[in-house]
Every structure is written in C-alpha cells, then in structure tokens.
C-alpha cells in the first residue's frame, strides 16, 4: 500500500503510523456558562474507549513519522484498503487551524 502525502508525494506504508478513527471529537467537560456538564463522564468514556467497527469507508488519522512528521486525515475503505482522499490534519505546519488564534 502506498499513501500520497499532501506534502511529500506518494510514499510506502512503512513511513506511516496508524492512529485510528478521526471522527471522535473531544467533548467539553463544561457548558458555556462554566458549569459542569452533567453527562461529561459518559461523553468522555465514549470519546476515549468506544469505537465503531466500520466495514466500508472511514476517516482515519495517520502520522507520516518516517517523512515530514505531519498528521494526515485519510479517507479509506476498510474492506478494500482503497484510499479516497488524503488531507493534512488541521493545524499541520504553520497554518492556522480553524478555531485557533494565530
């Protein structure tokens, strides 16, 4: 399998490390008014431990540690290994990620 890094071009699988599902978003422990979210414990349990076992297309986080050391977001089919899209993860390099002040 080869992965087309958006920064380096096509590289062998051995240069990359697989993290897992890129979909889970870190929940907030606090509401906008600063009070504690009543369901925070459940939300964090889901975020840390629970994963869908998808047969088909999923978005995944990969790390190009053997190359440019960038985090990538890859859309891959878990049944065929076909890679549909490779994007730089938010905040790669010096770019300003959405929601982050410069």
């Amino acid at each position: 399998m080869r992965i087309a890094c958006p920064f380096c071009g096509e590289r062998e699988l051995g240069e990359f490390t697989y993290l897992g599902d890129a979909a889970p978003k870190r929940p907030s422990a606090f509401a906008d008014d600063g009070s504690e979210q009543p369901d925070a414990q459940d939300a964090f349990h889901d975020y840390v431990y629970l994963r869908d076992n998808i047969a088909g297309e999923m978005t995944e986080s990969w790390y190009h540690g053997g190359g440019c050391r960038s985090w990538l977001t890859i859309t891959r089919s878990t049944t065929t290994h076909e890679i549909k899209a490779v994007k730089a993860a938010p905040g790669a390099g010096a770019r300003v990620a959405a929601g982050l002040a410069s």
């Binding site: 920064f7 380096c8 071009g9 590289r11 062998e12 051995g14 240069e15 540690g65 053997g66 190359g67 440019c68 050391r69 960038s70 730089a88 790669a92 390099g93 010096a94 770019r95 300003v96 982050l100 410069s102």
Partner: protein, 211 residues
C-alpha cells in the same frame, strides 16, 4: 551565557574506514564521504508566519525558502525542506559562536530556530553507480526526471529517518546527500557500504568547504 560549548565528534569514528571497500577490481563505482564541520539549524515558521519566514530567509540567505520537497543552494548555506513550513539551513561550521547567532535577528518573532549541528551526520554519495546503490535501500524514485538536482525528500532509509537531497553533479555523476541523526549514523553507514560494495567504494572523510 555560560562559557560552555558542546564538543562534538564524528559518530562514524569507528565505522568509517578510509580507503577502498567492497569489490577491489576496476574503478570504484561509488564514492562515500562523511562531510565534517557541518552546521545544521532547523528553522520552523511559527503559527501563521510562513510568509514572513520565507521573506526573512530570502533576505538572509539570498535564496527562496523551500516550500515543497526541494533544496535551495545559497552562497553560505543550503536550505533543505524538512516538512510543511519548516526547513534546515545546512552550512559549514564558522567560528565558535554557534550557527544561530548570525541568524537569530533575521527570524526573530517569525520562526523558531534550533541548532542541530551535533545531532546530525551528513553523508555524501556520488559516483557512476550511486543511484543504483541508493535504489536498493530507498523506496523513492531517484530517476533524473523525478529526482533532479535540487530535489529533496524527508524519508526513511533502512527504517531510519533521513533528509535526502541531490546537489550539483560532480564529474557527470549525481551527488546525493543524506542527513541522518547522529545516533543512527553508524547503522546507516554500514547499510550504505553494504549496498555499494558490489560496485566498489572509495571511502573518505572531508570537511565541508566554507561557502
């Protein structure tokens, strides 16, 4: 600042044996050289500051900062792309003040600088069969049309992360440069010598000439 400087030594002190290695008949197809006296500074743009960093690099080094896998050859330093919005400035060691002193003003506020001089080892591979030897241990396409002079890559050779770039041909032969972490240099060196052995290798050590 404390009157203390790291004293560096070659990580290939034992591994590098000058002279002819591998096949001994005929002309050596590979020249393998450790370049010594190399100063390396990592330059990483701060968040949202790539444009300013690139501008500072052009003013300071006289060449554009590499914004994709390539090497830019300035008079006093070679700038080698090492990742998005970051690159290495590779130059000959000059004076005892350290390589950052001369450039910290130029990049102040826009980029973070980090002296990697003692942490990396630079190996030069050239000769008529240099590409054949490298092709055995690298997964990159090194053909002239894909990896010409000025091409660079952050890649892995023999499971070891390296910065690889091609500088100007010498005597009609491609010149490949490998920058590897010092602690992995010994291992990578043996891999290189093994890959080159069948073509005959001339092994040498050379101080990087001052720009």
């Amino acid at each position: 600042m404390a009157d203390y400087l790291w004293s560096t030594q070659s990580p290939l002190q034992k591994a590098l044996v000058p002279g002819r290695q591998g096949v001994r008949s005929g002309e050596a197809g590979i020249a393998l050289t450790e370049m010594t006296g190399v100063a390396v500074v990592q330059i990483m743009a701060r968040r949202g500051r790539w444009a300013q960093t690139a501008k500072a690099a052009r003013a300071h080094f006289g060449v554009g900062a590499p914004d994709r896998p390539m090497a830019a050859f300035g008079k006093a330093a070679t700038l080698v792309w090492s990742g998005p919005d970051q690159f290495l400035a590779v130059a000959a060691v000059d004076g005892s003040a350290g390589p950052i002193a001369a450039m910290s003003d130029a990049f102040a506020g826009n980029a973070s600088l980090s002296d990697q001089s003692g942490g990396r080892c630079r190996i030069r591979i050239t000769g008529a069969r240099a590409r054949d030897a490298l092709a055995k241990i690298s997964s990159l396409d090194l053909h002239d049309t894909v990896f010409p002079v000025g091409a660079a890559a952050a890649t892995s050779i023999d499971h070891t992360g390296v910065n690889l770039w091609r500088s100007a041909d010498v005597a009609g032969n491609a010149v490949y440069n490998v920058l590897v972490f010092a602690s992995f240099a010994d291992s990578l060196w043996h891999t290189l010598v093994d890959a080159a052995a069948e073509y005959g290798v001339d092994v040498d050590r050379m101080a990087l000439p001052r720009g």
